[in-house]
Symmetry: D2
Subunit: 332 residues, 4 copies
């Protein structure tokens, strides 16, 4: 399967490195509008054609699939052109800038019988796979909440705010882990520097009283990647920055007890062992790209397809609407 890659900035080199070494895939061309990116690409891969014009890659008859690793605002145009040229598409998250674009691209792909995979890399990590298994097996019991903190200093993007930059990770993970779709969203935040929010908070209401919260921040002195997931039977902490023991499952819970007296507590808590399951190793992006190659080869729909990408875009769109009002309840 021959790939053209569009965009060789921060993430593009990882996509190329994996496509080059994967069985069954080959990179024919890399396009980037920036001169320095092209020089880097050509030095690292003397055998690959490196050009500035993405449309040349898209038009190439040798290319079977296009990996689009460029800024969000280019996704719609590039994906559309790729699909129209009969190429399968692997595209960065977030999928598109709005719902309409996403729906159009999904329809187009269906008509042409082409695959779209949206790069929700985290779904291919050992941590998310294991957490998904724990939830599906009922280890946590009925879910109460999902609470994620994803903050660090920097990596500002000039075209989107921190919500569109960092929250797609959590939204795609939540979409994968939590049954049902969110019913409403509230987002708050503030921009301090360049007109885009650099600090933002998002609450999502799911059916059955499941609540999700996402804290994203480009102005944090420390990097944090921590998610708490609370369930009726057990609760877990996923700290993605831990070298080992990324996921810890706590045999802790709550028991409602009858009321004894005015000054007494109503609810008791229960505490047991903690357990950290060994996680599957291996680079998530490699597994994701391998899955993409497989899906295209066997004409199967990936679970992180255009529809999954669209669900994330819809949440972001509603969050933006809420954020623009300083924080109001927006139904999805």
């Amino acid at each position: 399967m021959n790939f053209g890659v569009i965009g060789y900035g921060y993430w593009g080199p990882n996509v190329v490195r994996n496509l080059v070494s994967l069985e069954g895939s080959k990179v024919l061309a890399i396009a980037d509008v920036t001169q320095t990116a092209r020089v880097r690409a050509q030095k690292a891969y003397p055998g690959i054609k490196v050009i500035s014009d993405a449309s040349e890659v898209i038009a190439s008859t040798d290319v079977d699939a296009v990996a689009i690793v460029s800024p969000v605002w280019t996704h719609y145009k590039l994906t559309k052109a790729a699909l129209e040229n009969g190429k399968h598409v692997f595209v960065e998250k977030p999928f598109t800038s709005n719902t309409e674009q996403g729906e159009e691209l999904i329809n187009l792909a269906q008509q042409k019988n082409l695959k779209i995979m949206v790069d929700h890399t985290f779904l291919f990590t050992g941590a998310v796979k294991r957490i998904s298994q724990l939830i599906k097996e009922g280890t946590l019991g009925k879910l109460y909440y999902y609470d994620s903190t994803r903050v660090n200093l920097g990596l500002f993007q000039h075209d989107i705010n921190v919500l569109w930059d960092l929250a797609p990770h959590d939204l795609s993970i939540m979409d994968y882990l939590i049954e049902g779709s969110p019913e409403a969203v509230v987002a708050t935040g503030q921009s301090h520097l360049n007109g885009h929010e650099d600090v933002a908070f998002m609450t999502l209401y799911f059916p059955e009283k499941v609540i999700a919260h996402i804290n994203v921040n480009w102005l944090s002195p420390v990097k944090v990647r921590t998610t708490l997931i609370g369930g009726e039977k057990r609760m877990l902490v996923w700290n993605d920055l831990e070298a080992d023991e990324k996921v810890k499952v706590y045999d802790k819970g709550v028991k409602i007890t009858s009321r004894e007296g005015v000054y007494e507590l109503l609810v008791n808590y229960r505490s047991g062992d903690m357990w950290s399951p060994q996680l599957e190793q291996g680079e998530a992006l490699r597994q994701e790209l391998s899955c993409f190659v497989d899906c295209v080869s066997h004409n199967q729909e990936p679970f992180n397809d255009g529809c999954a990408g669209l669900r994330v875009v819809k949440m972001l769109e509603s969050a933006s609407k809420s954020l623009s009002k300083g924080g109001s309840l927006v139904y999805l």
Copy 2:
């Protein structure tokens, strides 16, 4: 100065222990409606009168001041009675259940020339004192945000939700640290067990683009007490669970740079040393009670007086209003 203490549940014993050992204060009586609490109190302090009826303590002519360490819904009635009986009052946070009650008590105290101190204990910790100093000296520069996470398993209260239980800590700290008053608040949350929210999130908009966020949760498998404070010049992390090095100041910041190309970043970040100042030791509650005794003795108003308590109640009240709508912008 002779004290009567009302309430000997979780926090009351700490108040009594400190009042007993402080120079210049003495505990004459302890009142608690619960039999087991009274037995515990009497065993620990054979020399102190332990009774069930708070009004007896309040009416006692020997008592100069009353420490009210009972549930929120009792604060108004007990404080009012104490003031009417000419007693100074040290009262648990949150001060009252609503604004009207708080205003009435403040007026009453003023008329009677009595002191009210609201137990905002954290303001007397070495950490908050040092952070306040860092902000006032300009070490952090202009403030960007205040982001606090205060979660743990349990200690449910049957009469209030998690916001009224845990957020007063952060609200009183913010009120102390951040110049100006919040202009609006948004709160979201969910109740899973007994009708009171057990998970809640609160955003406060301050003037000058300062944004504050509070994450409180009674259903967390791990205890977290972490606050990030970001400023133009420096940023800090306060982790109250660290034995040493509770406060870490990062010489990190952001520089806006001119735009180079479409795919390039607009904002650069700057990174330097980290520094953890040694903090004043000593029990915060002891220092607070000592301050209360001093204020009463010298007829001075404590900075954590009824007005400080009222400001916190107002924020909680507005947050409750927002929360009841699932999260709407409520102006203060």
Copy 3:
């Protein structure tokens, strides 16, 4: 059971507090040669007789047992006097300053049918109890090593070096956990300040290739209390400074595999889940003193008796011999 307590410095107040509140025990008298200690004791316990002369406590006919919480060099003399006066003895670790003293006291107690308990407090912690159980059940498999680091800044003692001050904790734990007695010891160290070693390292060779190592240091900027225990089947880390999750059991091990080529590794390792068992809560010293009261009442020998104390003293004595030569192999 009526106690006399000798020594009210750092640890004595904890012994008194527990003896006072335990069912079945009562403190009649406290002796300390230091004026400030006596003032502290009398203020805290107005009902207890506080004196300077230990011999008066020992001679008192009302006293059934004596708790000796004074410096090491006083243990022999005080314990001997107490036994001669027919008192049971609870004595601080290390038991005595040398083997001869220990043996004499054990014999004396036997003749008089009196109990000696040496205060090896750690044996009554939830952590050590659980680790002991894990070893006895075979969870770790055959033991490979025990490696403990116990360092902090300060708490210098003027009469003993850091080995006699800190290592008794580890030696008593090892004596309890590891089957068999050590065959030889090597100790190294250095004194920088007052003639006593403030940094020291100790290796103990047990039968069956079990090796133990203890790192003690009074000059460390950070406090560390970490023990690694390696076994054939599993390995564990005990971090006593963790609030929760003090003991973590790793399903990790080693498999010898046949040699493939000159540059290949001979040994493979195996990695699985980690698991942190919930530990029994409760103050260790309280449980230990309760055990002492029970043993005396029912005429049973405590497992941390004089003989256990003597085994620790013998190891310390041999370590001192090795240390005095800069580190030589000394057989026990």
Copy 4:
């Protein structure tokens, strides 16, 4: 400068990657006796000659310098051959298997005016550079001790024990940081699996009462890379596994005070701020190889030359002697 690289196992690929991308260096040939290593090398570097016979690389007239990244027992033979063929040598640590070999190679290089650099990579890390500066500037004051723990599960070597495998890191760092040479060494340890010690402890006595201790272990369930360095004025902790804040300097120290009473302490400690200096970033191996290229180009002796390598070998040799006796004081 044209390089031949011998050995493409664990570390060799890192050496090649850096030599390939460095300005002024080029890799002409890679030799490895293992078929799988050769396949990996050829796939990664299609333009480089990959062979099995190291002597062919050494004999090549196009090659200016040889990087020897093979097991310890091959270092002497390969380095000797390289020098005899007029090649400069970059060789893995430990330099040689014994003192005689090291001395012979140093003499040979001097006669031929060729450079030897021993790969003491850590000396080129930001952490070691900064610590060295702190010590030289007198920030720590007179040194008291150096205490390093370097443990993990696995990476067993079949030809050497854990001391020869892991301790060279610490010995080369100590050799760089501590003024003067160690006077004596004591080593203890145990082998549990294949005849080579897998757990070992080493004490080194330096002049002026500086003591060093190294704890190395191949059977640890957790990876630890922590070094404590204590000085009269300040103390530091270097945790190499921290992403940021690897080095923390504590303004802590000790003051001897006069003796007050029998039960009082003789020594007081002093506590102040903690400070974590920002460290130079960049891959240490890259900087080291760049330094090697520079030294050869400008005919300068690197500070991590054959003599530095020999000093480490001498310490290892003496440690082995001590270890073989179960731990005796061996003078250097």
